[in-house]
């Protein structure tokens, strides 16, 4: 009997060894060359905006390949890959290692079009209301409601929107200040747009990569604002943005453009209308870059930034007087 059991166990072990047929060779490696090739190739096949940004990725390969040396340090490799990925000029591109994170500073493409101290002192003031992620108060002799929302990472609820609408129901206009709002959860975009829309409204359409070719996309996936809640704001709405308004904020801005009572004021947004997809290199570092693109109904691609309806930049003279040029212009537009 023992002989039979031994034979059976041997057979079992032999069969388990067949696992090597399933698991191909372990690709884990710290070799600089292998990791460079892997990242370049993955981006080459999956990144969504080569054509739109007119990036010659093969030329990028030729530029950075000679900088990869056998035995180079992890830090040196990271710096080369950092520079290579920044050629994509995309705030949704990151390379993440235990010792550093690469990022593209999209917000430096334009001025920081807000002075938060002025906003706090002159417009929000000491009796500021804090409702969820919103800081708000009435301005311009209570004719306009001003709402500061600094990050789409902070949850917005239907209650927050309803409270703001109800508090400023008698005003002529409402300002949503999204300057330097770097994005966050897209769910908050729809919570807000669904309250701002009076009827089902087409916002934009998105396409997602479905193959390695430059134009291998599937879609469209259309996005709509679906009115929710019983309360609506009857006045005009101004959305304030600048180059630091990125990702979810750009999605919100793109959608808000389709609403009839909304005006976009300030600087172009930072863009970021491609959804970033994450993954891992053979050395364990992780990365992300955009694998989708979002267009307007007319097919316009604002990946590099959504232009405002009214371009207004903060002036130094106003700043010295403690005035926010962009808010003041929005008030004028709303009270017209």
């Amino acid at each position: 009997m023992k002989k039979h059991i031994f034979f059976l166990l041997l057979l079992l072990l032999g069969c388990s060894a067949c696992e090597d047929l399933v698991f191909t060779e372990n690709e884990k490696t710290d070799k600089a060359q292998d990791n460079f090739e892997f990242l370049w190739k993955t981006a080459n096949e999956k990144y969504a905006f080569f054509d739109y940004k007119k990036i010659d990725w093969d030329a990028v390969y030729r530029q950075y390949k000679p900088q990869i040396q056998t035995g180079m340090s992890q830090d040196s490799l990271f710096r080369v890959l950092f520079r290579m990925m920044n050629e994509l000029k995309d705030g949704h591109v990151n390379l993440i290692s235990p010792f550093n994170v690469s990022k593209y500073n999209f917000d430096l493409l334009g001025p920081t079009n807000i002075d938060t101290r002025i906003v706090k002192e002159k417009y929000l003031r000491e009796n500021v209301y804090t409702t969820g992620a919103f800081l708000h108060n009435a301005i311009a002799n209570n004719q306009v409601g001003y709402v500061r929302y600094s990050s789409f990472s902070n949850k917005v609820s239907g209650f927050d929107m309803a409270f703001v609408f109800s508090r400023y129901a008698k005003t002529k206009g409402l300002i949503f200040d999204l300057r330097q709002n770097g994005g966050g959860s897209i769910a908050n975009v729809f919570t807000m747009l669904n309250y701002l829309a009076n009827q089902r409204t087409f916002l934009y359409r998105s396409y997602i990569k479905n193959g390695p070719g430059r134009e291998d996309f599937e879609g469209p996936q259309d996005a709509y604002a679906e009115p929710t809640g019983n309360i609506r704001y009857a006045g005009k709405v101004a959305i304030l943005v600048d180059r630091g308004s990125f990702s979810a904020t750009s999605f919100f801005t793109l959608g808000a453009r389709e609403l009839p009572n909304v005006t976009i004021i300030g600087d172009s947004t930072g863009g970021g209308l491609g959804i970033p997809n994450g993954g891992q290199l053979p050395n364990g570092w992780t990365y992300r870059f955009s694998i989708s693109r979002t267009l307007t109904a007319n097919g316009e691609n604002f990946e590099s930034g959504i232009p405002p309806d009214i371009r207004v930049l903060l002036t130094e003279s106003d700043r010295l007087k403690g005035i926010d040029t962009v808010i003041e212009r929005a008030v004028v537009e709303l009270l017209k």
């Binding site: 079992l12 372990n26 884990k28 994450g278 993954g279």
Partner: protein
């Protein structure tokens, strides 16, 4: 601990054990019964620990591995000519990849199995037999890897129709009274044991899993990552399961099983490689 707590422990933990070892309908020793206790209908309940490996090329070229824990249940009809079983279970745990630093993922695996096998060979009144037939089983896997940002969640269903062959070796041995595992006293009598081994090879292997781009939060505000899944047929899978059954005199069974289940599927860009080594320890309660 108060008296109520003690009573609760007794009823929730000890009573099922007493039930298991002293089933009222089968309190007679096997050797004294006309019934052939090698066969019957059983409800199997097992605790499971698995050493599992995953590699999902859609997001990483690296192999993640770790221990998953859970349980399995099965209703088994062990007949002379037929073996029919239906059951399932689940595993959960943390898998990781250790490079310069450790990347972790939480893995959930839900398993189901249904099979029908017919005897096509036997020897010595079924001391040995071979049964063959069809098996339908599959896994629903969920992997959550926060480091992969918007590609952090992968949900997939992997289903296989297999051809299966099972070898049963039934052992009957006269034994003296002793203690099983130095704990459980056993009566003298005819002790039954069974060693079974089953190999399954796929006839149809299917996968419903993420497509080219993994993403779980898309631009219409509806986080429905399942929309990004695709159904494919192909790949291959191998399963080998070995059970050791130790029949108690009351007809119930103490069972230790080892299940090896490995598969590869998907296309070059999202190829998936999975291996489970599952150790099951449990009881089979006789239902008839």
């Amino acid at each position: 601990m108060n008296t109520k707590s003690n009573a609760l422990i007794f009823h929730t933990l000890l009573w099922p054990l007493l039930f298991f070892f002293q089933h009222p309908n089968t309190s007679t020793a096997q050797s004294n019964s006309d019934k052939d206790y090698r066969f019957g209908t059983f409800l199997n309940v097992s605790g499971a620990v698995s050493y599992s490996k995953f590699r999902d090329f859609g997001v990483s070229p690296l192999i993640y591995s770790g221990a998953l824990y859970g349980g399995m249940g099965e209703l088994a009809f062990d007949r002379r000519k037929w073996d029919v079983a239906i059951g399932g279970g689940g595993l959960v745990g943390t898998i990781s990849e250790k490079s310069l630093f450790t990347t972790q993922a939480t893995a959930y695996a839900i398993y189901y199995n249904a099979q029908g096998l017919y005897r096509f060979w036997q020897k010595d009144d079924q001391q040995f037999d071979l049964k063959g037939g069809l098996q339908l089983n599959g896994w629903v896997n969920i992997r959550e890897t926060p480091s992969f940002n918007n590609a952090s969640v992968a949900v997939e269903a992997l289903n296989t129709v297999s051809g299966a062959v099972k070898f049963n070796w039934r052992i009957a041995k006269e034994q003296k009274g002793r203690k099983l595992l130095w704990i459980f006293p056993t009566k003298p009598g005819l002790r039954l044991m069974k060693l079974s081994s089953q190999l399954s090879v796929p006839l149809v292997n299917t996968a419903w899993r993420p497509k080219y781009a993994y993403i779980d939060d898309f631009t219409n505000g509806k986080s429905n990552f399942l929309e990004r899944n695709d159904f494919t047929i192909g790949g291959y899978r191998l399963q080998w399961r070995t059970d050791f059954s130790y029949y108690l005199f009351n007809g119930n069974i103490f069972k230790i099983s080892y299940q090896w289940d490995t598969q590869r599927l998907g296309n070059t860009f999202n190829r998936l490689e999975i291996g489970h080594h599952i150790l099951l320890v449990g009881f089979s309660i006789r239902m008839n």
